[in-house]
């Protein structure tokens, strides 16, 4: 049974001039227990907006347009931010934010930040118990627990900070973790350490289902079971990691793979090719395929005809001409 279901989710921002910007449109997917879904796409394609939507956290100017998000059959829509913070975040859905440094309060020690999360969600737990549980949990991460917990964020290295944030996010054993570019500000060595820690937590059963958001497709190939590619607020292709990385079908995915670099022999001659042009302006209604303007294999009718998700083989592609 699917643990996490998203049905025709649409999200928009309302500007102060009353203009609606449809950042996410028509996103549907479902996830089983233990699945890791990777979401990739270029910056500004709606990945981070989708994260807020998936947590049911609608803080103006972000509003839901349509659709539904369900965790274990329970809808997250139409809740107040207070209700979401109290009953959804950290327990049902937890998020690992992008910049660890901005996520931690610089004036407080890591243990105090973590203790706040526990105190807010567990009524009647006393300080001693909190710290015992914290030390127990942080011991799993292979860090110098005492030093990390008693430091201010600025005293830690980037890797330690990111690992502390992951630790805090998963303190209450959430059913579902959404990692929004957890490693994009780290160097390759630290990135590997952080990913290893995430896999470690998965193995120990702290959480089992994860959405991993990044723009590095090669990284997703190693992390995710399934990959969804987003473009201008829509999912344009979804399949298993191997399918999407080695045998992309949608023209956008193909173009993304063409932009990848690699240090393998003979690759220096192969030029990474950028995609010409810019994504469409989402404030205006778009008819037809959103990628048509930049698509190398676009046909004249692509600009008028709206593309729907269809099944090609055993994957979903939003292109009428993909084979």
């Amino acid at each position: 049974m699917a643990i996490f279901e998203v049905e025709k989710l649409g999200l928009h921002y309302l500007t102060r001039f009353g203009q609606k910007i449809h950042a996410v449109t028509d996103v549907s997917f479902s996830m089983d227990q233990g699945e890791i879904l990777g979401i990739a796409g270029e910056s500004g394609c709606g990945k981070s907006t989708l994260v807020n939507g998936l947590m049911g956290l609608f803080i103006p100017p972000l509003y839901p347009t349509c659709g539904d998000v369900r965790v274990d059959g329970e809808s997250l829509m139409n809740r107040t931010p207070e209700d979401v913070r109290q009953n959804v975040l950290s327990r049902k859905v937890s998020m690992i934010p992008q910049g660890a440094f901005n996520a931690l309060n610089p004036t407080r020690k890591v243990k105090d930040i973590a203790a706040d999360v526990m105190a807010a969600h567990m009524k009647g737990i006393d300080k001693k118990q909190i710290y015992e549980r914290l030390i127990e949990r942080f011991n799993l991460f292979g860090m110098d627990t005492k030093r990390v917990l008693n430091s201010h964020p600025i005293q830690l290295t980037a890797g330690e900070r990111q690992r502390s944030v992951i630790g805090i996010s998963t303190l209450l054993n959430p059913q579902m973790v959404i990692a929004d570019e957890p490693t994009s500000a780290l160097d390759v060595t630290t990135q590997k350490v952080v990913i290893k820690m995430i896999f470690d937590l998965l193995e120990k059963g702290i959480f089992s289902t994860m959405i991993f958001i990044t723009h590095e497709l090669p990284l997703l190939r190693h992390v995710a079971d399934n990959i969804a590619i987003m473009y201008a607020g829509e999912i344009v292709e979804k399949g298993t990691a191997e399918q999407v990385v080695f045998d992309p079908r949608h023209p956008y995915t193909k173009a993304l793979m063409g932009a990848m670099l690699s240090a393998e022999p003979g690759q220096k001659q192969r030029k990474p090719t950028a995609i010409e042009g810019a994504p469409p302006n989402l404030a205006k209604p778009i008819e037809g395929c959103r990628f048509a303007e930049r698509c190398p294999s676009a046909k004249p009718e692509c600009k008028q005809k709206k593309q729907e998700i269809r099944i090609v083989g055993d994957r979903q592609v939003r292109c009428d001409y993909a084979e």
Partner: protein, 260 residues
């Protein structure tokens, strides 16, 4: 004696603190960077590559040894920065939050003694914006906080395209943008290099990126340059264990990375 070296370092040291807390961020490095060369400095975080970049910009002076730009020590920043410009890691800390982006791009011309005419400045800003894949109308009247991280990084690069310096110190310019913009930026850097005969010092932790762009690669570890050579030498037959480590940690699509 006139050599065509842009940067010359002989036993340069840059240290912070003193006594027991002395940290040698750049430790006894010796290298030459020739004119029109693209050199990548690769290393993990905390290896001293950003300090080396700041030495090149004249923001840190060497504590010992010599560090020369065009065979002269760096003294006057204002003159130095007309020829040497930088792109930094975090674009949000590089722009003033209180002024529109476009005005700040135009204000970059202030470093010159004689500014071009207003019309030419506007034109060059437009060109620079198009070069980084942003329509000028998209950022018209916008403030830094209204743009996404990827867009901001592109604004920072647009500033370089506006100024067209002789030497560019790029301190992880692509660590926060996506693959597609990265390819675009690299393309444009190559074009700039060919058109303006620019020297580029590329600082990155991604050896794949370094392999693609550079003529020579320096690998840094704990303040020392432990390996230098052409991209093929460094990636195909790495000598130091740290280089091997860096190569192994890249998530390549054709190789087992984490599950092995």
């Amino acid at each position: 004696m006139q050599s065509n070296n842009i940067f010359t370092a002989v036993n340069s040291v840059c240290s912070f603190g003193h006594g027991k807390k002395l940290v040698r961020a750049v430790d006894d490095v010796t290298f030459h960077i020739a004119d029109e060369e693209i050199v990548s400095i690769v290393g993990g975080s905390g290896c001293g590559k950003s300090v080396l970049a700041k030495m090149m910009l004249g923001l840190h002076y060497p504590s010992a040894g010599t560090f020369l730009y065009k065979d002269k020590p760096i003294t006057d920043h204002c003159v130095h920065w007309r020829e040497v410009q930088a792109v930094f890691q975090d674009p949000f800390s590089c722009f003033n939050q209180f002024f529109p982006i476009r005005n700040q791009l135009k204000a970059a011309f202030g470093i010159y003694k004689d500014k071009p005419s207003n019309k030419e400045m506007e034109e060059r800003v437009d060109q620079a914006l198009l070069a980084v894949n942003v329509k000028p109308s998209e950022v018209e009247g916008k403030y830094p906080f209204e743009l996404s991280g990827g867009q901001m990084q592109r604004m920072l690069l647009a500033r370089i395209f506006v100024l067209r310096p002789k030497v560019l110190i790029a301190d992880e310019p692509t660590s926060m943008v996506d693959a597609c913009v990265r390819a675009n930026i690299l393309d444009y850097l190559m074009k700039l290099k060919e058109e303006l005969k620019m020297t580029i010092v590329f600082i990155t932790h991604d050896i794949g990126l370094a392999y693609y762009v550079s003529n020579r690669i320096f690998i840094m570890h704990k303040g020392k340059i432990i390996e230098q050579g052409t991209p093929d030498e460094v990636t195909q037959s790495p000598k130091s264990e740290h280089t091997i480590q860096l190569l192994e940690d890249i998530p390549e699509i054709n190789r087992e990375w984490i599950k092995a």
